[in-house]
């Protein structure tokens, strides 16, 4: 549901930026939108995380995924069922950097009335490839925002291009350009081809995929196929960083489309499911220690409740209890 809508929206955004820069609104797309998007992103992101943080955690309910800690001799699974803050840190580390829960993924199939459950790592691999490619591309782009390229970024660049392959005499090929495209097409493909995933998908599931595909495509076109004036572009991006915005000559629509789609991604981020980036840190089934019997967890909004006390119970059943020889408080 909604794949068409998402595609049309992204194409509309591209057209909007193309027309806008053709009629000379370069300052709008090069300066105003990026600034606005960045502000919306920062404020929106913080607002959302703070809002989640304001909701308390009344109960300590980790999902336990291995043997618990006990005073007995059984070996505890310290990562999947942590009982200390260090254990939790480890569990969160593996969750965030290796997508450990997703790695567990299985696939269920029914054949001739029997159920078969087998390992299935494709989603994990696709998700991991996408996120790490995106991260490296993001880091690489920071060179547009620093006058001198820091060594971290240079290392990222050289690692990313270690294959030393040129396409049609263009600059060195980045591995992440390939991997992110493949990963995105996989993530999109399974939404279209797996009937279950197709059925649950909303327009807001396709939209970011198309949006990022648009960003990647325009980026790839600029790097490998159309020579863009990198010096002019860097003049613009550095101008943004130093709050001395300039709109240099010689930057074509392709770049503005790229920048506009990135702006949309930033501005869209806090209002969307992309906030899972912040939310994963706050998930109480993962970020709490399973030590409930050792340490009491406090519910900040706990309130007294009416319940039946023994006295009422005995009042109702006293005669029966006495007759049966069960000890009572009041004879």
């Amino acid at each position: 549901m909604g794949i068409g809508l998402a595609l049309i929206s992204v194409l509309g955004l591209i057209l909007f930026a193309y027309v806008g820069t053709t009629i000379g609104l370069n300052a709008l797309f090069g300066v105003v939108f990026p600034y606005a998007a960045f502000i919306i992103f920062v404020i929106g992101f913080i607002y959302r995380v703070v809002k989640w943080g304001k909701s308390p955690v009344p109960f300590r309910i980790p999902t336990t995924a291995g043997q618990h800690y006990s005073s007995l001799w059984f070996k505890q699974n310290k990562i999947d069922n942590p009982s200390t803050a260090w254990g939790v840190a480890l569990r969160m580390f593996f969750e965030i950097f290796t997508f450990r829960s997703l790695f567990r993924n299985t696939k269920a199939e029914i054949l001739q009335g029997r159920l078969y459950v087998g390992s299935s790592k494709w989603l994990w691999l696709g998700a991991l490839a996408f996120h790490y490619s995106f991260l490296i591309i993001f880091i690489r782009h920071l060179r547009f925002f620093t006058p001198e390229t820091p060594w971290v970024i240079s290392i990222a660049e050289s690692l990313d291009s270690f294959l030393q392959v040129h396409i049609l005499g263009s600059p060195l090929l980045y591995i992440t350009n390939i991997s992110i495209a493949v990963a995105l097409l996989y993530l999109l493909g399974r939404r279209i081809l797996d009937p279950k995933i197709k059925y649950i998908s909303l327009p807001s599931d396709y939209f970011p995929l198309f949006l990022i595909l648009g960003i990647i495509s325009t980026g790839v076109l600029m790097r490998y196929f159309f020579k863009v004036d990198v010096t002019a572009i860097k003049e613009l991006t550095l101008g943004l960083v130093y709050f001395k915005p300039v709109v240099p000559e010689g930057v074509g629509s392709l770049f503005y489309i790229h920048l506009f789609l990135v702006s949309i991604l930033f501005a869209y981020f806090p209002f969307s499911k992309l906030m899972h980036m912040g939310g994963v840190f706050l998930s109480p089934t993962r970020n709490l220690a399973n030590n409930n019997r050792m340490e009491r967890h406090i519910n900040p909004w706990d309130y007294p409740v009416k319940h039946r006390h023994y006295e009422e119970y005995e009042d109702e059943f006293r005669e029966k209890m006495k007759k049966a020889g069960i000890p009572v408080e009041k004879e």
Binding site: V57, H68, T285, K320
Partner: protein, 537 residues
């Protein structure tokens, strides 16, 4: 049971085919017999003070809701968003990756897309978006939002009473989104309108009045235990006098009331009586704290707290040092993850120490409650108990990990250690179906009613399928477990899917193999069937 034959039951399930209509367009929901529980009776709702108490008939078009029901639900969502970070975060961050989809036993057994955990959550999430998010307000349906109306409410009721809160989906979710948590809160919202089931609200009312779900009054509980002791005497020649409401005992023992009532739970209960007698344990039963399970947990957390508070109060009144808990699933989820928060600090009890072995249960130093499997495993390790394992030689055993103890606590090794020490034949089911990945019995969270049998047999299919595998491969004929709902729900599941496999608690196996001081030569097991080698030719 009026069900199709097993090989036909799931022949209509196709996990790869989804309806042609979008899920928001499939209303109104069809209440199919066998897939929903009967509505609550007014008197039971009234007894514990639930709102909108009246006889609730699910298939009546008019649900007799209060005038402002919509406002109640929306304000209820708001309050819970502000109170539960779980709910708040889980409503916002799902990316619909679908990793959870085929993890749910109900989806596997029915193929109904709304049984995919992601879609079950979306049923409520769509309402949340409409009233609480800007994207939902602006984009409406294209933003995944929809209005709350009576048809939507009925759909929420139908599907949130088709979730057993087993948490298997939350294990696989990359963000740990826990459908059990969403179901708990959805049911809280429904209970604001008196939309409960008979099978849950009846036990809740019983539990409030008599202390246990089954409504067993004190004198009946005593005679029930005495009947069991008569059987034990027939089997072992030993007479046991169970201590009841005994002040000053060292330990209060609490187990789900299912163990007092029905086969095969009663054999497990006999096992407890025999074990404690053999140890000479200074303990007591309580006729008031006569329920460790908590059907209140399936209505609202407040009701759960109202039912569970009596246990610590009773421990205080009787002056015991600590509490020992029997084999049960959701009872342990409540005890482990909630009760200490509700009732603590539990400073009127002492840190649990086994009076037999001297082992300090430091991992229970705050809530002062020890699991019977921890207690028994420790006894075995110290060589306290003597066993004749051959008494269990006719049993080829596999172990079903109960959802709550697995994913809400993480106790996997203790029961296995015990079983291996009292039985000679033990085989595991496939890895993807045990331990943290265990499949639900299909009847948890108050769904073990007779009228929902088709849904239960479908939901139990993944579990049964794994049992069938070890039944065929190793000849497994006994499904052991540490949960009272399992002991009630697995026998019909096995009868349906894998005839020839019986069900038992772990303590029954312990007591059957345990050599008691002064016992006569045993001829019968706890079920009064001849022991292996003692069959009459």
């Amino acid at each position: 049971m009026g069900l199709p034959r097993p090989e036909e039951l799931i022949s209509d399930v196709n996990l790869k085919k989804m309806p042609s209509k979008a899920w928001m367009d499939t209303l109104p929901v069809e209440f199919k017999p066998g897939f929903y529980c009967y509505g609550a009776k007014g008197k039971n709702l009234e007894y514990v003070g639930f709102p909108n108490a009246r006889d609730f008939h699910v298939t009546d078009p008019d649900w007799k809701l209060p005038e402002d029901w919509k406002k109640t639900v929306i304000e209820g969502i708001k309050q819970r968003i502000e109170r539960f970070r779980t709910f708040h975060v889980f409503m916002d961050i799902c990316v619909r990756c679908g990793a959870c989809a085929d993890k749910c036993h109900f989806f596997i057994g029915t193929g109904d897309p709304k049984n995919m955990p992601v879609l079950r959550a979306e049923l409520l999430r769509s309402v949340y978006r409409k009233y609480f998010t800007s994207s939902g307000k602006i984009f409406g349906r294209n933003g995944g939002a929809r209005d709350l109306d009576l048809d939507v409410l009925k759909e929420l009721w139908y599907y949130f009473y088709q979730c057993t809160e087993c948490r298997r989906c939350s294990l696989f979710c990359p963000y740990g989104i826990d459908t059990a948590e969403i179901t708990i809160i959805a049911r809280e919202l429904l209970n604001l309108l008196g939309l409960n089931t008979d099978w849950i609200s009846g036990p809740v009312a019983n539990c409030y009045r008599t202390g246990n779900h089954l409504g067993i009054e004190p004198h009946t509980m005593k005679s029930t235990l005495e009947f069991m002791c008569n059987d034990i005497e027939d089997i072992t020649g030993i007479r046991i006098e169970p201590p009841i409401n005994k002040k000053g005992a060292e330990i209060l023992f609490v187990t789900p009331s299912g163990d007092l009532f029905a086969d095969p739970g009663i054999y497990n209960c006999m096992g407890y009586l025999m074990l404690f007698h053999e140890l000479g344990l200074d303990y007591t039963w309580s006729t008031f704290a006569s329920e460790g399970g908590n059907f209140g947990f399936f209505t609202s957390l407040e009701m759960a707290k109202r039912l569970h508070s009596k246990i610590y109060e009773e421990a205080k009144r009787l002056g015991v040092k600590w509490i020992l808990g029997g084999e049960c699933g959701h009872m342990w989820r409540v005890w482990h993850q909630y009760h200490n928060t509700w009732f603590g600090p539990v400073d009127f009890l002492e840190e649990p120490v086994s009076p037999i072995t001297g082992t300090k249960f430091e991992h229970a130093k705050s809530n002062k409650i020890v699991h019977i499997s921890e207690f028994t495993a420790d006894l075995i390790k110290h060589g306290i108990l003597k066993f004749d394992k051959s008494r269990n030689d006719n049993l080829i055993v596999t172990f079903h990990d109960s959802c709550n103890v697995s994913r809400g606590m993480g106790m996997f090794e203790e029961p296995r250690y015990i079983i291996k020490n009292v039985c000679n034949h033990f085989y595991e089911m496939p890895d993807e179906t045990i331990r943290e990945q265990t499949f639900c019995c299909g009847s948890g969270s108050g769904l073990n009613a007779g009228e929902i049998m088709e849904q239960r047999m479908r939901g139990g299919f993944p579990r049964a399928n794994a049992v069938r595998y070890v039944h065929e491969k190793f000849g497994v004929n006994l499904l052991a477990n540490i949960c009272a709902i399992d002991r009630a729900a697995l026998p019909p599941l096995m009868n349906y899917w894998v005839p020839g496999v019986r069900v038992s608690g772990v303590t029954e196996l312990v007591a059957n193999a345990m050599i008691m001081k002064g016992e006569k030569e045993r001829e019968m097991n706890l079920r009064m069937e001849p022991l292996p080698g003692k069959e009459v030719e």
